[in-house]
């Protein structure tokens, strides 16, 4: 199996450490997400993996092969850039065929493969369009198809959703996940959106200021965050009785039921849920509670005194 292994990766720009001793193993065939706030070094790590930069320290392995020094054009990595980086002087078809053309494949082979990926990305009607005439979502499909057409060892996607509007994001997320499952290609996905990360990935690595804080499955990361930063970055947390608890892991009970006494300060209705904030008036501590909408209206209103208990 050719897992991708990053070993002790450190990278400096002008003496500033942008990546700090990163160890990461991306299992073969998995969908692996780097999650972290803007500027934490995600793109830099992707560029190390793609071969655009040689890290100041550390090694990159694909399977047992050390590719640290291997230039990008020899690495066979499919990269989808944040702005897609489509070639504006070429049509959709020419963009997708580009990697095949530079590899010197025969014309029939290029056509055959090109149409396969055009099909896969659902771009059948757009092959001869110029890329500027396409919408954001279509451009993204071209970028993905272009990266996949070279049948790379790995697909690297740098915040591919950041240029799309919210409605389109969910849709493209599903499409990308579906394509990954269909092709079984090892994929590294970058995002700063925790929901996106949790919903799409097999594994997530949470990054902060150039370091990887935690890796694991989405459930691991969400349910057992290591440390305050991860806990807060992948969702909201409450500290109750020395436990980190998610809003949906808390319950509001009547004031006489024991537990922590709190007063409701805001109520927000989101459709499927009610979101409450409540304050412990003795300590000033604030809590976030999420309760399912049972269709009978809000059980609590602002100013109510309640007691806060963990769900069973």
């Amino acid at each position: 199996m050719s897992d991708v292994v990053l070993q002790g990766i450190t990278h400096r720009f002008e003496s500033e450490d942008v990546l700090k001793n990163i160890d990461l193993t991306i299992p073969h065939g998995s969908f692996y997400t780097l999650l972290g706030p803007s500027g934490c070094g995600k793109t830099t790590l992707l560029r190390v993996l793609a071969g655009f930069i040689v890290p100041s320290e550390g090694r990159v392995f694909i399977g047992s092969e050390d590719v640290t020094e291997l230039p990008c054009e020899k690495r066979n990595m499919g990269v989808v850039f944040q702005n897609y980086a489509l070639f504006p002087n070429m049509t959709v078809g020419e963009n997708i065929a580009y990697g095949l053309k530079v590899r010197g494949l025969s014309r029939t082979e290029i056509q055959e493969r090109c149409s396969r990926y055009v099909e896969l990305a659902g771009l059948g009607d757009y092959v001869s369009r110029h890329v500027q005439e396409l919408s954001g979502g279509q451009q993204q499909r071209v970028a993905v198809a272009r990266a996949l057409a070279i049948e790379p060892q790995m697909l690297l996607l740098d915040e591919p959703m950041s240029n799309l509007d919210v409605a389109l994001r969910a849709k493209m997320r599903e499409e990308i996940r579906a394509i990954q499952q269909q092709t079984g290609i090892t994929t590294l996905f970058i995002t700063h959106d925790q929901q996106e990360a949790l919903s799409i990935s097999d594994y997530v690595a949470v990054m902060r200021e150039g370091a990887v804080l935690q890796t694991g499955t989405p459930e691991d990361i969400y349910n057992h965050p290591e440390g305050e930063f991860v806990a807060n970055f992948v969702g909201t947390t409450n500290e109750l009785e020395n436990q980190q608890l998610r809003p949906e892991q808390l319950m509001l009970a009547n004031a006489d039921q024991g537990g922590t006494p709190v007063r409701i300060s805001t109520v927000r209705f989101t459709g499927p849920f009610y979101e409450y904030t409540a304050v412990n008036e003795q300590t000033g501590e604030q809590y976030h509670i999420l309760e399912r909408n049972r269709g009978t209206g809000s059980a609590r209103s602002v100013g109510d005194a309640c007691s806060l208990v963990p769900c069973e």
Binding site: E73, N83, A85, F87, M90, Y98, Q132, R146
Partner: protein, 560 residues
Amino acid sequence: MNSPSPKTRANAFLPLWYAFAAFLCLGYIVLPFFYTLRSATFVDGAFTLSVFQEFFGNPNHVQVALNSLKLGVGTVLVCGTLGTVLALYMTFLAGKHKMILHILLLSPMMIPGVITVIAFIQLYGESGLVTKALQMLLNLSSAPFTFKGFGAILFVIAYTQYVYFYLNVYVALKYLDYSQIEAARSLGASWGRVFKDVILPVIKPALLLSTILTFASGVSSFSGPNLIGGYKVLSTQIVLSKVNNHLEMASVQAVVMFAISISVMLLVRWYGRKTSGVQADRVATRVVPLRANPLLVLGARVVVIAQIVLILLPIAAIVYLSFMTTGSIMQEIFPHSFTLENYQTIFAKPRVLQPLLNSLEMSALAVVIGLLITVPSAYIIVRNRTKLSGVMRFLIMLPSALPASLIAINLINAFAQENIFAFNVPLIGSYIILPIAYTVMALPMLLSSNEVAIGSLHHTMEEASKSLGAGPLRTFVSVVIPNTVPGILAGGVLMFIRMIGEYTMSALLYGIHNRPISISIVTNLQEYETGISLAYGVLVILVCYVALALIFKLDKNRFV
């Protein structure tokens, strides 16, 4: 360009200005060209093509035209390669000292061509410093090369004219989306392919524009062929014909030169339009030093270092030699008798100083007249996009398509006799003819630089001022002037630099009243007053650099 502005209210000034501009452009640009055509086709008052027949029937003449063409093509090829390589290096590979390198690489444009040529001769000519050094080093009995003919001329021209390519490509590369390079690389493209598929489409308009500019200057270049010699071209033959009082032939030669440069210009334009691809979206991305092939990097670095040395050597040589006595320059292998005599002579004798003063005065005059014409015109063109303002723009821009020799020949043909546009005063031989020629030549550049300066002032700014209660005059004084004057002045100073050492038109038009510095530099050299000639050169370079510092102060963004 600017977003469309509401038409300014019609006022009495506009038609007056159009009439004034039409008078000047017709009188000093358009009609003089027809005088040249007439001089080429009328002999003794009757129409004839005999002079053209004389030209095209004589293989020597035809060879001269072909030589000019060859020089133009050579200039484009050499400058295109050199300028593009330098721009690529500066964009992708230069790290430290980028700003200094950039300014150095632009500097050849700031030194008058005639001084550059003379510096090159002092370095590489028969008894040049480099020639003699190589001869000694290699223990040769004679010079290792002869600095004459096509190769030597092309060498000098390439050294000065690559700047067009360099600057235009450098600016175009700022619009390159860097991630497209990485995309192509990650798809397996070699550097060659990246250049062809990603970089070339972005810089193509810049390449075509620079091709037009450098071809024109190669075809019409005069100082190189004239001073280095060994290669006859149209510009040198035009002067010869004029000196021999064969003005009809000079006119034909100037027309032929014009035909060559205008047809190449139209050809390149046509090609550009035919092949214009889709324009890239202008995204600015962070440029990261590339992980390029080390051999490629080394090659580029060698080119840059060689170029910097080539740029610095002539200046160093000319400054150094200007402090040597003429005798020591002529006799010693490596002159070392230091003296201030050359400079003392210039400043002590009014007769010797006069050419320098003439040039300062005439270029300043040309820039002032040029600005007086182009500032209001640019304002009208930017604010008032109508057919009429378009015609005015076309007329003012016309000289950019005319070789310098042709402009001069046109003026000679038009103003050697009484001419209504000069109020029936013959201008040839008078002081004012050179400032007029300089102005005509400077008009296009002044107009475009003023358009940029005025165009950057968005009309909403003026409207805001008016909405706050300021009248038109107040608005002009308090909003328009402060925001545009630095750009306008910087453009003017740049043209001043370009005109102060002007040689081509000067050689055809100067007289006893207005002998310019470029002519004195050459005649002093030819009369073996080498020291004086070089000291003149240093003084002009000094003036240029002071002016350049002024431009940087006024308008930092002009070159970066």
